[in-house]
């Protein structure tokens, strides 16, 4: 109650962090002319790159100072937008610059495929397996692309939007699948 003033210095810090990184993002933008940079809600940095250049881009990010791998997931925009159906979302964090970068990659196709970034960030291993399991997006170059959440002989990918919510018969192995 007594300390109601939002500390003005804090905003300066945030500002300067962004300013410090501006050359870095500019450097990335220079190397990757086809990548687009934008600011999302609450000033979060978002970059969209071509699927073919993802590994290269992520490597450049890591060299530039995004040392920590945070997250990898996907979004299915089924019938929600024209163009590619899925977004693969990679979250990176720079501790030194206190800045997050979200890298979006559009993928599409009957068997959607994206390059694996496990060579750059080994921590992406489980995350890519999860996306493969739940979305059916295949990651080329992944060392062990198997299901991680659901059992191996499950059919379908539940987080796809064309998978309905509801009850499914339990899939036991080696049983007559009646009832």
């Amino acid at each position: 109650m007594s300390e109601q003033a939002p500390p003005p210095e804090e905003e300066v810090v945030v500002e300067s962090a962004r300013l410090r990184l501006a050359p870095l993002l500019a450097g990335l933008a220079e190397t990757f002319a086809d990548a687009t940079f934008e600011e999302s809600v609450a000033g979060q940095q978002v970059a969209r790159v071509e699927s073919a250049r993802l590994v290269e881009f992520v490597q450049a990010c890591r060299d530039a100072g995004f040392e920590m791998f945070i997250d990898l997931t996907a979004v299915d925009y089924y019938r929600r937008r024209p163009g590619p159906r899925y977004d693969v979302v990679v979250g990176l964090l720079s501790l030194e610059h206190n800045l997050r970068l979200r890298v979006l990659v559009e993928v599409d196709g009957d068997v959607p495929t994206a390059p694996s970034i496990t060579g750059v960030y080994p921590g992406a291993n489980f995350y890519e397996r999860e996306v493969y399991d739940l979305f059916g997006i295949e990651f080329t170059g992944h060392p062990d692309l198997t299901r991680i959440m659901i059992q191996d002989d499950w059919e379908g990918h539940p987080l796809r939007k064309d998978t309905a919510v509801g009850s499914v018969p339990i899939q036991f192995r080696n049983t007559n699948k009646v009832l």
């Binding site: 809600v41 979302v89 997050r100 080696n174 007559n176 009832l179």
Partner: protein, 472 residues
């Protein structure tokens, strides 16, 4: 009667397993079961446990055998020395092992008693909560996410609420923010107490379990008094909190802040200098800062390697920057250092709670934005519009502008992040939870390599995994 009701020729059913039984067949089956006669063979075959047993060796395929004995992949950790094939044992630890903190299964490749490779196998608790999140409105969302990390429910709720508020562009009044800080910091204490209890028990100090749970009971009683439940509270909601703090909450918090440090002193006496505890934890399960970065390890394991990174300081949320607290650090990155960091974090969280107690602002406990806040009870009795509004909020929910947002907070186990995608509807298009336990489980092979099986137990406990958080 039963003789007539034979649904024979089960082979046909097997060929076409997706055809559900017709209504008549269902009725026949029901009559059969209620008449008390013996079930036909095909029912027995399809539901008996025998069908799930291991296959005889001559019938099993190579894949079946590999699965029964546990398959290991070669990528998790590359070892220099080539051990002779016969000396290798593959041991499945879990999913029902008591010290795996849930249903975690580890495939251990052993050379004698030394672990050569580890493969964590998860998914036994997968219930599709991210999919469930897409079917619930933003107001119902916290009921779902609070069940993920069941030892830190307030953090999950807060993270979801902050993400929703960021998309909505709603500000939360100071009192609601202070209540959120109070509840999450007390929740951090209760989570760490559970951790210290299980860490002690896994290393043989069974009395530690009793002490830790004893102190935690104070906190759970306060949570129950405030929210009505001991876990899965659904208390922090988009726009504020569900209810104001109960009368007399100051005495409860004061008692918690007074009593728990006494317990901590006991734990220090019991463990910190204990030669057995030191021998089991010092130099065990080491992970370096670089490995933490590469594997996305945050929270106490990262700070135990000497990296000063706490989201409460770096990217503050919910007004936590007004309170004074220190970020405890250690340097070796082993089990013992994680222990020290967490023990000190309990004190720092209590320090924050004491400051909230002194400086709790007056005001409303939820936002005045009528779009997300239901009208007060009294207005519903007086006004038809208020009644309709209340009804619509709780049935349809409120619409959230299209956009995507990643919100991260410092959970007890590290960075807890919720990635919300809205397409302008009342339900999230996509809810993804970046959970610290998931990253921690992935890093177990790094921490366990070249150590003894007994150390594996200490390592599992030291990363404090919650399997509900891993599998979601």
């Amino acid at each position: 009667m039963a003789d007539d009701v034979t649904i024979e020729d089960s082979s046909e059913e097997v060929e076409n397993p997706t055809v559900p039984p017709s209504e008549t067949e269902r009725r026949q089956l029901h009559d059969l079961w209620t008449s008390g006669t013996e079930e036909p063979a095909w029912v027995v075959a399809s539901t008996a446990e025998g069908a799930q047993l291991m296959l005889p060796r001559d019938e099993a395929t190579a894949g079946d055998v590999a699965e029964e004995s546990g398959t290991l992949v070669t990528d998790d950790r590359l070892y220099k020395d080539e051990a002779v094939e016969e000396e290798i044992t593959i041991l499945n630890m879990g999913p029902q092992h008591p010290s795996t903190h849930g249903v975690l299964r580890l495939q251990l490749e052993l050379d004698g008693e030394v672990i050569r490779r580890v493969k964590p196998v998860i998914g036994y608790l997968h219930t599709g909560m991210e999919k469930t999140g897409e079917t619930l409105t933003f107001l119902q969302g916290p009921t779902n996410v609070t069940r993920m990390d069941y030892l830190a429910p307030f953090h999950n709720e807060l993270c979801f609420s902050l993400a929703t508020e960021a998309l909505l562009g709603v500000d939360v009044p100071p009192r609601a923010q202070a209540i959120r800080v109070l509840m999450t910091e007390l929740n951090r204490v209760s989570s760490h107490l559970t951790w210290v209890a299980t860490q002690g028990m896994d290393l043989g100090a069974v009395s530690m379990m009793i002490y830790g749970i004893r102190e935690r009971e104070l906190l759970l009683a306060f949570f129950e008094k405030t929210t009505g439940l001991r876990m899965n509270h659904n208390y922090v909601r988009p726009g504020g909190v569900a209810a104001d703090l109960p009368d007399g909450w100051q005495d409860d918090v004061a008692e918690i802040v007074r009593a728990i440090p006494d317990g901590l002193d006991d734990y220090h006496d019991l463990l910190t200098e204990n030669p057995i505890f030191l021998g089991r934890t010092k130099g065990v399960g080491v992970i370096t800062s670089e490995e933490c970065f590469a594997y996305g390890i945050t929270g106490p394991p990262l700070r135990a390697t000497g990296i000063n990174w706490d989201l409460r300081k770096a990217q503050p949320y919910s007004g936590i920057e007004q309170y004074e607290f220190d970020v405890p650090l250690a340097e070796n990155g082993d089990v013992y250092d994680r222990y020290l960091v967490r023990m000190e974090e309990i004190r720092q969280s209590l320090r924050i709670a004491a400051q909230v107690l002194e400086s709790m602002p007056d005001g409303d406990y939820r936002t005045g934005d009528l779009k997300v806040t239901p009208p007060p009870r009294k207005r519903i009795n007086e006004s038809m519009e208020a009644l309709i509004h209340h009804f619509k909020i709780f049935t349809e929910g409120f619409k959230v502008p299209a956009g995507e947002h990643y919100q991260a907070i410092e959970g007890p186990r590290g960075e807890l992040g919720h990635y919300l995608v809205s397409v302008g509807e009342a339900k999230p298009w996509r809810l993804h939870c970046r959970t610290p336990s998931f990253a921690a489980i992935q890093s177990l092979p790094i921490m366990m390599g070249d150590q003894l099986i007994a150390d594996a137990i200490a390592v599992i406990a030291s990363v404090d995994p919650v399997l509900g958080d891993v599998d979601r």
